[in-house]
């Protein structure tokens, strides 16, 4: 079950009023499929909002802010305690029942499991009195910024279930990509820990992920004819060529493997096996490929990097093949 709830508050047909709802929608679109995060929409605060939060460990509320000194399109982060002081959020309270602080106090007194941490993102709004589906320009421009800020918060809160762009940025493999590209990669990523001997995939398997090693060593293996065997004789006797798995290459921390996931026909060219206990980040290839279609620069840069991986594999294979020549 998800541990963190993101709630977009407001009315999406009231010009800027629904900016929170739109930010939440942008966050939902960017979230990795496996993130333990739910995204919801609400138009009223107070008791109803408190009731929505029941059962979550953490919550992020996104709402329109109006008030003196709040610039349209500004994005600010508040704790629920700071919000109680400020009262600028448009929807955390309900005119019909109670403000959020009172509602939360009530819920806690009732023993309801409410989030220990509640963070509010407020986006300065300009027009909350005219019906309309278009936001004013400054507020519309704030949506991606606010969504990024909320995602950052989620990377912090959901460390373990989500990969932060900061983590990826440390690896040279991703050098040269823009921050948005790194965010897209992070949102398609999932961390895995495996024991020694674990096969990520075997030669010929269909591949939908590629991997970045964080810890440990991964062997890239190919089935090669067993050099200790007289093949002509063995074939005559058994009708089969004796093969054995040969580690042709290793992927250590920072190295990428599973490139076949990004290239049709998406069949593994080699097997990959943990040679020691390992931690890796797995990336969702179909999701990334559709983003490459949309953003060709992103696709070009990534394919360049993948081509480098293939070049290294070719080099390794060439070295391995010397073993046959020398025989």
């Amino acid at each position: 079950m998800a541990r963190t709830l993101v709630v977009g508050l407001g009315n999406p047909v009231l010009t800027d009023d629904g900016v929170g709802v739109r930010v939440a929608a942008a966050v939902r679109a960017a979230l990795p499929a496996n993130a333990l995060v739910d995204v919801a929409e609400a138009s009223v605060g107070g008791l109803r909002l408190m009731e929505m939060l029941v059962g979550y460990e953490r919550a992020i509320l996104v709402d329109a802010f109006m008030g003196a000194g709040i610039a349209p399109g500004s994005v600010q982060r508040l704790t629920v305690e700071e919000l109680a002081e400020m009262r600028a959020a448009q929807h955390t309270a309900s005119a019909h029942d109670a403000d959020l602080t009172t509602a939360l106090d009530l819920g806690r007194r009732m023993g309801l499991p409410l989030p220990a941490e509640i963070i509010i993102y407020g986006i300065g709004a300009a027009n909350v009195v005219d019906f309309g589906e278009e936001m004013t320009p400054a507020v519309a421009a704030a949506v991606p910024r606010a969504a990024t800020a909320v995602l950052q918060e989620l990377y912090r809160l959901e460390e373990g279930s989500m990969i932060s762009p900061e983590l990826l940025r440390r690896y040279p493999f991703f050098a040269g990509l823009s921050y948005d590209h790194i965010v897209a990669l992070a949102n398609a990523a999932e961390e895995m820990a495996v024991d020694s001997g674990h096969y990520f995939f075997r030669e010929g398997d269909e591949l939908t992920r590629f991997y970045l090693t964080i810890e440990g060593a991964i062997g890239i293996l190919n089935e090669l004819p067993d050099q200790a065997v007289d093949h002509k004789l063995a074939e005559q006797l058994t009708g089969q060529v004796r093969t054995r798995e040969v580690v042709v290459s290793t992927a250590g921390p920072g190295d990428v493997f599973g490139w076949s996931g990004l290239l049709a026909p998406h069949r593994a060219a080699s097997s990959a096996k943990a040679l020691a206990p390992a931690r890796v980040i797995a990336f969702d290839c179909p999701r990334l490929l559709s983003q490459f279609e949309e953003d060709c620069r992103f696709g070009y840069l990534m394919m360049q990097k993948i081509a480098q991986v293939i070049r290294e594999r070719l080099r390794d294979m060439r070295i391995e093949s010397l073993a046959f020549v020398s025989k």
Partner: protein
């Protein structure tokens, strides 16, 4: 002239505001309600297919999307000239009853009740649902939360979505219920009836057994002799979902009973130079200003007005309490019906009686053998033209009126929302309460302010519908200016 401003939001500009003008002696000369209205809803809707309205209009307001959804759905029935099957009407009313239980429960325990449970002079920080829990016990909080939870579950089950229902269709309802769902709703309805009776008992124990509160309710400052409006069934009993609109005069004589589609013949709107609100009034009585009495066209549409406009309640327990309200508050029966009660604070009691009716009606419907009938849609065969749909929203009669071209594209949209009906009564109530509470030359205290706000709060005004969401506790700021515009006294609470 001095000016006192009660601003429900201290740090939000351009929202609701109560302004009280003092004369040179310091007595109240006038009091006004100022609320900026949302703009452009009609323009937003025109050009869209009419069948989108049940989903668009429930976006107008986060507090009672169910009421807008229902009024819009009924307007579509009329627009497409289609009569929904009997089971469909029952499912809609079942859904609507569950909504009423949550809404009235919330108002009483979170907004209206604290004034009585804790007293009108209690510090504002205590005058909320937490204060009620503190004083009456944790059990009460659990009851309120549980009532909300189980009825939201029913609303979601029947309406298709938790917050913004989607089930309403012209001539139909998008899903039937199974035998298992029916049994679950029946169990919930039984709990609701118990909860309503518990709430009425609490009201008796806390309010009616305290003579000071009864005196407050009966006091002249909270008494306005206006016309009362409400929807009644074929037997002139209160109904929330369907019926004729009945208006009784201040003495309790039926003034008019009309079909909701004829609203424009009976209701006119007045624009006053000091406000941008439009004040509805009875066209055939006429506008006499913000005054009560039989000659003034002001009417109210509140729980108490609905009880006044009807001859009784359609369920047994609610009827019992209905009679108790009228006899307790000194009403006599004339020509077989009770004379209206005009004590505005009795609205809280009326709201609980309506809560009881909603719970009992929900149980009746859950026990109706027809309720699981799967045939929930009638075919549409006619071209759309024009349609009016009306329900009793918790805060007053709600009317949706649509006109389309022959392709069903909206060309005209008019809404009269619940709170709008009560703009003039609210303004009148505030003025009268202020005149009673604020005496010439006297400093204005927090408790005095709350007594003015209590008049306002009894209407359960919902500004997020008429206008926009406000912070829940309606923090007040009173600024008193002298004739030169200097602040001489400032009281604020948050």
């Amino acid at each position: 002239m001095k000016r006192v401003t009660i601003d429900p939001i201290t740090r939000l500009e351009g929202h609701g505001k109560i302004e009280i003008f003092l004369d040179d002696s310091g007595a109240v000369a006038n009091a006004y309600l100022q609320i900026p209205e949302l703009r452009g809803f009609e323009r937003f809707c025109v050009g869209r297919p009419a069948e989108e309205m049940p989903r668009i209009t429930n976006r107008i307001c986060g507090v009672c999307p169910e009421a807008h959804h229902m009024a819009a759905t009924k307007a579509l029935d009329a627009l497409f000239h289609v009569e929904p099957p009997s089971v469909t009407k029952k499912l809609r009313e079942l859904f609507y009853s569950a909504f009423y239980v949550t809404d009235h429960t919330t108002h009483f325990y979170a907004l209206g009740g604290p004034d009585f449970v804790l007293g009108p002079d209690a510090p504002p920080a205590q005058r909320n649902i937490l204060g009620v829990v503190h004083k009456v016990g944790l059990e009460i909080g659990a009851q309120v939360i549980d009532a909300r939870r189980r009825n939201h579950h029913v609303i979601q089950m029947l309406g298709g979505r938790g917050v913004h229902p989607v089930a309403g269709l012209p001539g139909g309802w998008s899903k039937a219920i199974t035998a298992e769902e029916r049994a679950e709703i029946e169990a919930i309805a039984r709990q609701n009836v118990d909860f309503a009776l518990f709430s009425l008992k609490l009201f008796e124990d806390v309010v009616l057994s305290n003579q000071a509160y009864v005196d407050l309710i009966l006091s002249e400052g909270y008494t306005h002799r206006m016309y009362s409006m409400g929807t009644v069934d074929a037997n002139n009993r209160v109904n929330f979902y369907d019926g004729m609109i009945r208006v009784v005069d201040p003495e309790g004589k039926e003034f008019v009973k009309y079909h909701p589609r004829d609203y424009a013949q009976h209701i006119a709107e007045r624009v006053e130079p000091w406000s941008y609100l439009k004040f509805p009034y009875l066209r055939n009585v006429g506008w006499k200003g913000l005054v009560d009495g039989k000659d003034s066209g002001l009417y109210s549409a509140t729980p108490l007005s609905r009880l006044n406009a009807a001859d009784g309640m359609a369920t047994p327990k609610a009827q019992e309490f209905y009679e108790k309200l009228y006899t307790t508050l000194g009403s006599r029966k004339v020509n077989g019906r009770f004379q209206p009660v005009h004590h505005q604070l009795a609205t809280h009691w009326a709201r609980l009686i309506e809560l009881c009716f909603a719970a009992e009606r929900m149980l009746e419907l859950a026990l109706d053998p027809e309720i699981t009938d799967p045939n929930v849609r009638a075919p549409i065969t006619e071209k759309p033209t024009e349609g009016v749909g009306s329900v009793e929203a918790p805060r007053g009669t709600l009317t949706h009126h649509y006109v389309t071209d022959e392709n069903g594209i909206l060309t005209k949209v008019n809404l009269v929302v619940g709170t709008t009906n009560n703009y003039a009564p609210i303004a009148l109530s505030i003025k009268k309460a202020a005149q009673t509470v604020i005496q010439a030359g006297q400093a204005i205290s927090e408790g005095m302010l709350n007594r003015i706000e209590m008049a306002f709060r009894s209407y359960d005004p919902c500004m997020s519908c008429a206008t926009h969401a406000l912070p829940g506790q309606m923090p007040l700021e009173v600024v008193i200016y002298d004739a030169a515009g200097q602040v001489v006294q400032q009281i604020s609470r948050t």
